[in-house]
């Protein structure tokens, strides 16, 4: 069952986490690169809410939200961004390379599109092993142009794999509007090319996302094969730090802010009488606290050992 308050908490945590990441970058406290998902929290949370513990999720370069929604410890995630030994990849991976199978989280991934093939393999193994695991693979509208996604969907369809490919259509691939990268209006249309189920949902509505995934996962568990779900949303943040956002107008962004999922769920929760203004404040404060603790944990964590930097190349 979809629990809106829980979804709200997760979305809040993600939002605060991502805001903190942007601030930490601008202050020079963390280095490297990261892609934040402000505005897209509902897809992450809606998908994760519909999954069972045994299910698997693969993510993208923009993966903090997916990972947090799936249950990541914000402290260890933050520690990875700080390059600390306590990070999910012991400081070796950074934002784009974290994995925690114990949480059914099979990786952020710096190679656009690559994780969908990997996810197909997870689904294949789930099928071979006779488990009822379902695998969800996130990818972006921009990633939909990668051939490997075509290959993976074709393969999944032929083999009836329990794979749900979820396109986060956030309007852009870096600076490229979907209209310049995707030759159809909706990525979901491409389900036809594989004879699989395709659907589009409001990606800013966590319940809609949850319900769509729950139904498709149920089908997948019963051997119904793969599906393609498109979640329409908007990337409110820049692509990554340093993005001047010259490829779109502030007006467009303002309009998108009026649709943004966090305000929407807050309004829904108040309208339904679930949470009042004071309760909202308490939830917000809790999220802030968790993020502050995550930063504190990360900063207090030891640096990785330089002497062993070359170790562990092989399992």
């Amino acid at each position: 069952m979809f629990d809106p308050t829980q979804a709200y908490d997760r979305m809040l945590l993600i939002r605060r986490f991502e805001e903190a990441v942007e601030k930490l970058f601008s202050e020079g406290r963390i280095m490297g690169t990261a892609h934040t998902c402000i505005g897209q929290e509902a897809t992450a949370v809606g998908v994760a809410a519909a999954l069972q513990p045994q299910d698997a999720l693969t993510s993208t370069h923009r993966g903090h939200g997916h990972f947090l929604a799936r249950g990541a410890d914000p402290g260890r995630l933050m520690a990875e961004l700080f390059g600390r030994a306590t990070g999910y990849s012991r400081g070796r991976g950074g934002s784009q390379m974290m994995m925690e199978p114990a949480l059914g989280f099979y990786g952020t991934n710096g190679i656009t599109g690559a994780s969908v093939a990997f996810a197909a393999g997870l689904a294949l193994q789930a099928q071979l092993a006779g488990t009822d695991r379902v695998v969800v693979a996130f990818f972006g509208d921009g990633a939909s142009s990668q051939g490997v996604i075509h290959e993976s969907l074709n393969l999944a369809a032929l083999w009836k794999l329990p794979l749900i490919a979820v396109c986060e259509s956030n309007g852009y691939a870096m600076s490229t509007p979907a209209s310049c990268g995707v030759s159809v209006d909706s990525v979901a249309t491409r389900a036809v090319a594989y004879g699989i189920t395709g659907a589009t949902v409001d990606g800013n509505d966590p319940r809609a996302v949850h319900d769509a995934i729950a139904a498709l996962a149920d089908r997948g568990r019963k051997g119904g094969g793969p599906a393609l779900l498109e979640c329409r949303t908007y990337r409110l943040s820049g692509h990554s730090r340093g993005d001047r956002r010259e490829y779109r107008t502030r007006d467009e962004e303002q309009a998108a802010w009026r649709q943004e999922p966090l305000t929407r769920i807050e309004q829904a929760l108040t309208a339904a009488g679930t949470l009042d203004a004071a309760a909202l404040e308490r939830h917000r404060a809790a999220a802030e606290r968790r993020v502050a603790e995550a930063i504190a944990f990360a900063e207090a964590s030891p640096m990785p050992d330089e002497d062993t930097v070359a170790e562990g190349v092989f399992a």
């Binding site: 070796r92 710096g110 990997f118 197909a120 997870l122 294949l124 562990g312 092989f314």
Partner: protein
């Protein structure tokens, strides 16, 4: 046992591994009823079925990526890439994912990629390449290359049981050769141990895969001329058994490395550099490399033969080095 071809040995070893470990499965283009382009998997589908002997669509990036995912999830996929030249389509998957899994993500990836490589069949520039060099400089990928029937079985087993991505190079010219073996599968050998194929004191000839086979033939010729070549078959390129190579180099003081592949930027360059770094003072001459010219593999048999480093040219180069003053 009557002599078996390398193809048969590989097939029986695959069958044994499939029987031994239910996590093992095979995937690749036309490996089912067709048995793969070179027939290695022929008939396996009858015993193991289409689920474990899994034909894939023609989607190298996709199915290699999927195999990596399956391996991380606990399977032991053995993938056939129909010709090594086509592995170029899956370099991203192997370099950016498979090779990084242990180091960055702390995950094991027990994946084997078997692939026929090399020239000698007149197949032309996109069906004849030895491309181990694409992966040799990428940490995280093991590379093995049997030159004998026994090693084909031994290394295949070790590759399948290893928790890492392993590239197994099968030379097309080795497939039809027949080997007398006591039993198949043969005992596995640890990855990373070179094989001293022949003892000798006049020079060391280092090679792998088909060239190692040819080097042994060359050494036999040379023995008739009273030139005693020590032939070392690498068997494993990563890890590289540099100790064995260095010990031989110290003894013979003259080293020839033979490589099928363009001269520039090959494996021989690395071996040569490591040997110079270790045994410089013991060498009478710099390490010599015998390789192909820096050009694609031409398809005409006459042209192809002119670029492949077979026993004759190996013998000539070895003779030259052994008798140099």
């Amino acid at each position: 046992m009557s002599p078996l071809t390398t193809t048969q040995i590989l097939r029986e070893t695959l069958a044994a591994e499939l029987r031994r470990d239910p996590a093992v499965f095979l995937m690749g283009e036309d490996i089912g009823a067709y048995g793969g382009s070179f027939g290695v998997t022929r008939g396996l589908i009858d015993e193991f079925g289409a689920t474990r002997i899994r034909n894939t669509p023609i989607s190298e990036p996709g199915f290699v990526g999927a195999a990596i995912g399956a391996a991380v999830a606990g399977a032991r996929p053995v993938v056939e890439i129909m010709f090594m030249d086509f592995i170029t389509l899956a370099v991203d998957q192997l370099v950016n994912m498979a090779a990084k899994l242990a180091y960055v993500y702390n995950q094991s990836c027990p994946l084997v990629i078997r692939t026929p490589m090399g020239g000698g069949r007149g197949y032309g520039a996109t069906h004849s390449q030895c491309l181990e060099r694409l992966f040799f400089g990428v940490p995280g990928i093991r590379i093995v290359a049997p030159a004998t029937g026994a090693d084909a079985s031994a290394l295949l087993q070790s590759a399948i049981r290893d928790p890492n991505p392993v590239l197994l190079l099968e030379h097309k010219l080795l497939y039809p050769l027949r080997w007398e073996l006591d039993a198949v599968p043969t005992p596995p050998v640890p990855l990373g141990q070179a094989r001293i194929a022949r003892r000798g004191s006049d020079l060391t000839v280092i090679a792998w895969s088909w060239c190692a086979f040819e080097a042994e033939r060359a050494a036999a010729q040379l023995a008739a001329e009273e030139i005693e070549a020590e032939v070392i078959d690498l068997r494993s390129l990563n890890p590289l058994d540099i100790e064995t190579l260095a010990a031989s180099a110290r003894k013979t003081r003259r080293v020839l490395i033979v490589e099928e592949g363009p001269r520039t930027g090959g494996i021989a360059a690395e071996i040569g550099s490591q040997l110079h770094e270790r045994v410089f003072g013991d060498l009478e001459f710099p390490v010599q490399r015998l390789a192909m010219p820096d050009c694609p593999v031409p398809s005409a048999r006459s042209l192809e033969a002119a670029v492949m480093p077979g026993a004759e040219v190996i013998a000539a180069a070895a003779r030259d080095l052994a008798t140099r003053v």
